[in-house]
């Protein structure tokens, strides 16, 4: 049975479904300083390869809408359909819409394998918690050692670090447009997601917390 068939046969359970977030979520932003949401089931592919190999970089770009992986540490590109996050000197994370993983893995693998690159589907390993709003940075600062000030962590920056001792891939996804509040996506291992959500929910109480649709 292919993976699509499996997905049809077995209902998927999100990492935070037991919290009933959908019932708490509402669309209007209200006055809350912190907005939390879970983006369930995003496609995530781990990409390895040699950034000094033009063939590899071109192969990635041929699949990802013409965008090469960043070689500048701690930065990500947004292609419109994909996010491509720097994880290490020869390692990136491709984030795409739910359901895209199988086809994207096949296409990327076909493109990069001749250049020694590898692609691994890691979609199920992590869920994505979105922290946004005027106090997003304040709430993250309570548990994260990264300097998230805009001078040090610009729009489009990403980093692997810890939030409340939980290993996360942190990605600033707002564009720093005037009046636009900061927005961070936290890709966290799903077995830690419940703890991380409760930490953020608790740490955000002094600013007010609104649960948003993912």
């Amino acid at each position: 049975m292919d993976s699509k068939g499996m997905a049809d046969a077995i209902p998927r359970l999100g990492a935070l479904d037991h919290l009933g977030l959908a019932a708490r979520a509402h669309g209007e932003k209200g006055a809350a300083g912190v907005r939390l949401a879970e983006r369930r089931f995003l496609a995530k592919l781990n990409l390895r390869g040699d950034p000094n190999d033009h063939g590899f970089m071109g192969a990635v770009a041929s699949v990802l809408d013409g965008f090469e992986p960043r070689i500048i540490p701690n930065t990500a590109v947004h292609t419109g359909r994909f996010d491509l996050l720097w994880l290490g000197p020869d390692e990136w994370l491709v984030v795409a819409a739910d359901g895209a993983e199988a086809e994207l893995e096949a296409r990327l693998t076909a493109a990069v394998a001749p250049h020694g690159g590898t692609v691994t589907d890691v979609s199920e390993s992590r869920t994505t918690i979105v922290v946004s709003g005027p106090n997003a940075r304040d709430v993250l600062a309570k548990g994260c050692p990264l300097d998230l000030h805009p001078r040090a962590f610009a729009a489009g920056a990403c980093a692997q670090s810890l939030v409340a001792k939980v290993g996360v891939i942190l990605h600033r996804t707002d564009t720093a447009a005037p009046g636009e509040p900061a927005r961070f996506e936290l890709h966290a291992l799903r077995s830690f997601a419940d703890y991380l959500w409760r930490f953020l929910d608790d740490a955000g109480q002094e600013y007010g917390v609104t649960v948003m649709e993912g």
Partner: protein
């Protein structure tokens, strides 16, 4: 909180790292030939200076890469961090 400069990620908090012991150890190429005493010295015996120390570190809660560092075992000061394969920097005077 100590800031440690990962050669790839830049300065990061100490709690993202783990120390991996003495650096620049070279694997024996003639392990079958050397005496037990020599092999034990290679396998177990480590420098234990009060002062500057060449060490391996891992950015375990970051990019997960290994790198080398020169650290002072009394003050915890990092004199240098550098990628594997890069030459040993000279030790500072003090």
């Amino acid at each position: 909180m100590l800031l440690i400069a990962c050669p790839w990620c830049g300065p990061r908090a100490e709690l993202e790292f783990r120390c991996g012991g003495q650096g620049h150890l070279t694997r024996l190429t003639d392990a079958m030939e050397v005496s037990d005493a020599e092999f034990a010295r290679y396998l177990y015996m480590r420098d234990n200076p009060k002062g500057w120390h060449y060490e391996r570190w891992n950015h375990v809660n970051g990019c997960r890469r290994w790198f080398n560092a020169v650290r002072h075992t009394v003050t915890h000061e990092f004199h240098a961090t550098y990628k594997p394969g890069e030459p040993k920097p000279d030790l500072p005077r003090s």
